[in-house]
């Protein structure tokens, strides 16, 4: 199985999941050497070649909720 990897701060992060919400693609990453080191980044339709940081703690919660709902859909 091929996994996709992105290098951030000289660390290799594996792409765990990509979830799209409106025009934002949230990328869920996990450090290949440290399972506690997880990251959420985003790519917008306007700038498809750039990996962006999340804007705020609210956006972080929103992205996290998107992941939780995808992994563990509620009733």
């Amino acid at each position: 199985m091929n996994v996709e990897v992105i290098t951030i701060d000289n660390q290799d992060y594996m792409i765990i999941k990509e979830l799209k919400k409106e025009n934002i693609n949230y990328i869920y990453l996990s450090n290949m050497n440290d399972e506690k080191d997880i990251l959420i980044k985003k790519i917008t339709d306007d700038n498809p070649n750039y990996l962006l940081s999340l804007d705020s703690s609210e956006e972080f919660q929103k992205a996290l909720l998107l992941f939780l709902n995808d992994q563990f859909p509620s009733d």
């Binding site: 996709e4 992105i6 290098t7 765990i16 996990s30 290949m32 399972e35 990251l39 940081s53 703690s57």
Partner: protein, 206 residues
């Protein structure tokens, strides 16, 4: 996938949040960081990591934190909806096209549309526009408080975070009441159907 072990703590959560919102990553420029994906073959690691992230994020210090995420996100969703329904239509470009000005009167009328000032909507306004603009909206509300600071003091909120917490609780309670009401309505409908069926059976039997 095991979800029994606790992988992330509150500190981990805060650290991850900081890292996700931090802009000074190596290779970052004003636009962001160039996406450079490489493909690596590693099946076992992939499945282990998926389990780790899912269980870690979900179990983080117990279910209460997940609930907190959901409740906080529900409030954020309400704020965003209010922004698109009320704030955006009342935001206008300045003549130099560099910023926006807002129709404070119309926003205030929306917050006070039922004759009662909606404190939730006042919070959504604060979330969208910040303190200075919210103070301008408050001027048109003819409320018992003069500005955001006065509002916080009169409600015994220590700060904005305290206000947000209260709004999260209110929203959660409101949703819980709505769910109970839905259940009650469904039970009443069932009862009506059962009663009608029994009456029909009785009448048919005569």
């Amino acid at each position: 996938m095991s979800i029994e072990r606790e992988i992330l703590t509150h500190d981990d959560y805060n650290r991850i949040q900081d890292k996700c919102t931090r802009k000074n990553t190596v290779g970052n420029n004003r636009k962001g960081m160039m996406v450079d994906k490489k493909k690596v073959k590693n099946a076992l690691l992939a499945s282990c990591m998926l389990g780790a992230i899912a269980s870690g994020v979900t179990i983080t210090a117990g279910n209460s934190l997940v609930t907190t995420f959901k409740e906080n996100s529900a409030l954020t969703a309400e704020c965003l909806e209010f922004h698109s329904d009320v704030i955006s239509p009342n935001a206008h470009r300045t003549t130099d096209n560099k910023g926006y000005y807002y129709d404070y009167l119309r926003i205030a009328q929306e917050i006070n549309k039922d004759g009662n000032i909606s404190e939730e909507e006042l919070y959504y306004t604060y979330y969208s526009l910040g303190e200075e603009n919210t103070n301008n909206v408050i001027k048109y509300l003819h409320a018992a408080y003069e500005n955001v600071e006065d509002f916080l003091a009169q409600h015994n909120y220590k700060n904005i975070k305290d206000w947000r917490k209260a709004e999260v609780k209110k929203l959660s309670l409101k949703e819980s009441i709505e769910k109970q009401q839905e259940k009650l309505n469904a039970m009443q409908n069932d009862l009506q159907i059962q009663t009608a069926t029994m009456q029909n059976t009785t009448l048919g039997g005569k």
